[in-house]
């Protein structure tokens, strides 16, 4: 993992940018490879690095510099690991093109910050006579901005380096703001910004177990609840050692839970858990599904996020009811796909499916049925697999490489429905095992075609959505929702996922006991997600460094 750091710096050297070079000088990068030290502090060992996601990058820039500054581009994709991209972020591979994206993003942000339109509000320093920089102001500015970007106080060396960059660039360009721009680029291209860096505090809580240091704790908490860098209040609390007391930690957790930013954090978690990165490559055959468009795809993602946030945060409702709820939010484009009236033409509005509508629960939403389908047809197997893996945290083996799919894909006058085709396909004993796991679940959603639109028949034959999930029978997609609601794996799954999301790695066997306790507290709180967040965020276990690390 630390190799990424070195490789990144080497590649950045190759990119020739002044900021990139300066961000990877031995003085800057060297200590960060194995330890870090805040101003006046003893060096602490780094225990994990997680690359920022593009959304986190956007959130940080927005929170630090405000909405006038936009982030464009895209970063290298992360690899889903143990069910989460957040875990994959700890094993990120960054390509040369990926570093170019970091550079481009950094330069773009820095340019926008110092633009004539923004510099008056975003840059507190003004040039002295000519282009000469005010070193004191520059120093204070970078200490302040750098603290938010690095999620810790900058060392004196780190600040000195930026002051030197600003001075040199201002002299070279005859423009103080060009100097600020270079200094900011330098900060934004530094691994300390691009990677969520966690370090141990060096004081074992018990034999063989270490805890995160204060800045790491604040960072973990902030990314869990807000999906962004800690704000000034959280960093201050961390610097004062308040996060090391149960009361101080609870005070900050409560503050973060009460913030509107909580919905952003919740959205990020569920987007990860529900594999929304698949939207980036979602395609549908426009001949078969003319109602599908990029707008529909974007809105479908947004629909689920709004539904989840409304259900879990605004109404503080039972998590399990997400599988049966009829309350949602629709845009005009989505209403067209669902064939219901748009609640607010041209905009978004609350909508409740009528009692006899086949849609109920997040698993019947376009963002589930269409996302887990093929471009030209539905897929009970993909949908069943998604429910098993994403909602129940159960592993479904990949199919063997030599599977003959012709029985399923070739047109047949007798095998008209997916159920009939899968039955024929599953006579192969090699395939039967896995299909038994996933098909009955996916077949319950067959009333929704490959683009999530309701249908009663397939190729003229009536669709039979009945089946059985872990011993519970159902006859409709709605009843499947009830079966999911009653399945303990669903509540266990979200606890496990949220814990892994918090700590950035799959839970180790030694943490099973703690997770079981979280599950119990979740149940005791009526499966309220905010209570689960609070339980995890206030538990010391969430800030302990696993011995497996």
């Amino acid at each position: 993992m630390l190799g990424i750091f070195l490789r990144g710096c080497l590649l950045a050297f190759g990119l020739t940018a002044l900021a990139a070079v300066s961000s990877c000088t031995p003085r800057d990068a060297g200590p960060a490879l194995s330890s870090r030290a805040g101003a006046g502090e003893t060096a602490t060992p780094i225990v994990s690095l997680r690359r920022l996601t593009f959304e986190q990058y956007q959130n940080i820039v927005s929170d630090v510099f405000g909405s006038p500054v936009a982030v464009v581009g895209q970063f290298d994709p992360l690899v889903r690991t143990a069910g989460l991209l957040a875990v994959g972020a700890a094993n990120a591979t960054t390509t040369p093109a990926g570093f170019e994206q970091f550079e481009a993003a950094a330069r773009s942000v820095a340019t926008q910050v110092v633009s004539p339109a923004n510099r008056g509000t975003l840059v507190p320093c003004t040039p002295q006579a000519g282009a000469a920089s005010d070193d004191n102001c520059t120093r204070a500015y970078f200490a302040s901005v750098g603290r938010l970007l690095f999620r810790r106080a900058l060392t004196a060396e780190e600040i000195d380096m930026r002051v030197a960059i600003v001075r040199a660039a201002a002299d070279n360009n005859g423009d103080y703001y060009a100097g600020i721009e270079s200094g900011l680029s330098s900060l934004l291209m530094t691994p300390a910004f691009l990677f969520i860096t966690e370090a141990a505090d060096g004081r074992p809580s018990k034999v063989g177990v270490q805890r995160l240091d204060a800045p790491s704790k604040a960072t973990r908490l902030s990314f869990l609840l807000w999906n962004t860098t800690p704000d000034d209040a959280l960093l201050t609390a961390s610097e004062r050692g308040e996060l090391n007391t149960a009361q101080g930690l609870k005070r900050q957790v409560d503050r973060l839970l009460d913030s509107p930013r909580l919905k952003r954090g919740t959205a990020a978690f569920f987007a990860d858990m529900l594999a929304f990165e698949k939207f980036a490559v979602l395609e549908k055959d426009s001949t078969l599904y003319p109602a599908y468009s990029l707008e529909v795809a974007n809105d479908a993602r947004e629909q689920l996020i709004r539904t989840i946030n409304d259900h879990l945060i605004s109404r503080n409702a039972d998590y399990r009811d997400l599988f049966t709820t009829r309350k949602t939010f629709l845009s005009s484009a989505l209403a067209r796909v669902y064939r219901v009236p748009a609640p607010v033409p041209g905009g978004w509005g609350a909508f409740e499916y009528p009692g006899d509508d086949p849609r109920a629960g997040i698993q019947t939403a376009f963002a589930f049925t269409a996302l887990h389908s093929h471009p030209g047809r539905s897929s009970p197997t993909l949908r069943g697999k998604a429910i098993r893996e994403l909602l129940l945290c159960q592993r479904v083996p990949d199919p063997p490489g030599n599977v003959d799919f012709s029985l399923f894909t070739a047109p047949s006058p007798t095998l008209k429905t997916a159920r009939q085709r899968l039955d024929a396909h599953s006579t192969n004993p090699v395939c039967a095992g896995c299909h038994k796991l996933v098909d009955p679940i996916g077949l319950a959603l067959e009333n929704f075609d490959g683009a999530g639109q309701f249908r009663r028949t397939e190729n003229g034959a009536a669709i039979d959505p009945s089946g059985r999930l872990d011993g519970v029978d159902y006859k409709t997609a709605g009843e499947l929702g009830a079966a999911l609601r009653a399945n303990r794996a669903a509540t266990s799954c979200i606890v496990n996922r949220l814990y892994a999301y918090t700590v950035g790695r799959a839970a180790s066997p030694r943490e099973r006991e703690a997770i079981a306790a979280f599950e119990k507290r979740f149940e005791g709180a009526g499966y309220r997600f905010a209570d689960l967040l609070r339980a995890i965020a206030t538990d010391e276990m969430s800030y302990v460094i696993s011995v497996d690390q």
């Binding site: 109602a291 468009s293 209403a335 067209r336 905009g347 978004w348 509005g349 009528p354």
Partner: protein
């Protein structure tokens, strides 16, 4: 009649919705129960003057009509042509405005179509046409409100069809199937939605057979939605054009459905009409529709027939004479229009309306009544 709720009412798009529960929405094609009345909505996605064309243009045995430009060109000597057209370099479109002013005193002959007397318009000679019997006669004889005219036989064999608008414009290039007047007008209507007509069918007991339904005509303030292939998408939601709390348009006709074929009784209806950069409220009289609704309720296709006010028709045709698409001869059309007008005879004996038929296609739509409420962040789930 319909499902009112909080000042807002929503119908079912093409399919069926229970009348008394605005949120009650069933999938298209699902039959309603006998106890509930339903409401359907359609957005008219295509509107064309109904021109019946044969493969060899038998309906126009003398060919297509000459244009203003051609008459003007014929009236000039070679020297005059050279002087007026930059030695022949000005294009037809470029000289259209000049050609239009060929009145004896420089009058624009589309604004003053009686300023010159041109050869008569070549009119349709066919015996077959789209349309409906509007005057109720079998032979087109003069009645208390109509003028004597020739009848057509319907394309489907229906006897005594009235469609003098076809007789008038069927041999004018712009109104034929590839003519710019019609294609541009329909294209503009689709893209800007200014003249989008909504049809609401209420009091539906049975989606395939119901002898007592009502059809109401509205204008939408929302634009069409299309798929990637530029086909109108069904099941979109459209808001009605309101003025001081009531729909700006909203005439209702009684009707019936027989095997999915929706027809109405006759009545006066005002409709929004946008074509070739001009908007008007069409005052149509004795309107009737005859459309077939698809089995799944997602589309409708058929005819709207009516008497079209000739002053309004000329308002459109005369103004269009300035447009690049206005490639026809105004004086000849105007004279023929007066001659062929067959409805609503005035005291002088001149008929002031012309029997017309329009081919319409519609897609299922949700029609939202009432002024839309501004969504709050909470309503929108932010």
């Amino acid at each position: 009649m319909a499902n009112h709720r909080s000042g807002s009412r929503m119908n079912r798009a093409g399919g069926i919705a229970a009348v008394l529960a605005a949120a009650m929405v069933l999938p298209a094609g699902l039959a309603s129960s006998a106890e509930t009345k339903s409401t359907w909505g359609f957005a008219v996605s295509s509107w064309h003057t109904a021109i019946y064309e044969t493969r060899f243009m038998d309906e126009c045995p003398e060919g297509i009509n000459a244009t203003n430009d051609e008459y003007w060109w014929r009236s000039l000597s070679k020297d005059q042509r050279g002087k007026l057209t930059n030695n022949g370099m000005t294009t037809q479109i470029g000289r259209q405005a000049i050609a239009n002013h060929r009145g004896p005193n420089g009058e624009d002959i589309c604004q003053v179509p009686t300023a010159v007397t041109d050869p008569p318009l070549l009119t349709v000679q066919s015996k077959t046409s789209y349309g409906l019997n509007l005057d109720g006669t079998s032979d087109g004889r003069e009645t208390g409100k109509t003028c004597k005219h020739e009848k057509f036989t319907g394309v489907d064999g229906t006897p005594a069809v009235d469609n003098q608008l076809y007789r008038l414009l069927g041999c004018v290039y712009g109104w034929r199937s590839i003519g710019h007047v019609e294609t541009a007008a329909n294209g503009h209507r689709r893209t800007n939605g200014l003249g989008m007509i909504l049809l609401e069918v209420t009091d539906v007991d049975d989606p395939r057979n119901d002898d007592d339904v009502k059809v109401t005509f509205y204008r939408s303030v929302d634009q069409f939605t299309f798929d990637k292939n530029d086909n109108p998408l069904p099941y979109s939601t459209y808001r009605i054009d309101y003025n001081n709390g009531t729909p700006r348009y909203g005439a209702t006709l009684p009707g019936k459905i027989v095997n999915g074929n929706l027809t109405t009784e006759s009545g006066d209806v005002s409709l929004p009409f946008y074509a070739n950069y001009g908007f008007q409220t069409m005052r149509l009289r004795d309107v009737r529709i005859d459309v077939q609704i698809s089995e799944d309720g997602s589309a409708a296709d058929g005819i709207l027939a009516a008497y079209y006010d000739t002053e309004q028709l000329w308002e459109y045709v005369g103004e269009l004479g300035w447009q690049p698409t206005g490639v026809y001869n105004c004086p000849a059309i105007y004279a023929a229009m007066r001659k062929l007008a067959d409805g609503y005879r005035d005291a002088s004996g001149q008929c002031t309306a012309i029997s017309s038929a329009f081919k319409i296609k519609a897609v299922a739509a949700f029609i939202r009544h009432g002024d839309p409420k501004t969504p709050t962040d909470v309503q929108a789930g932010r």
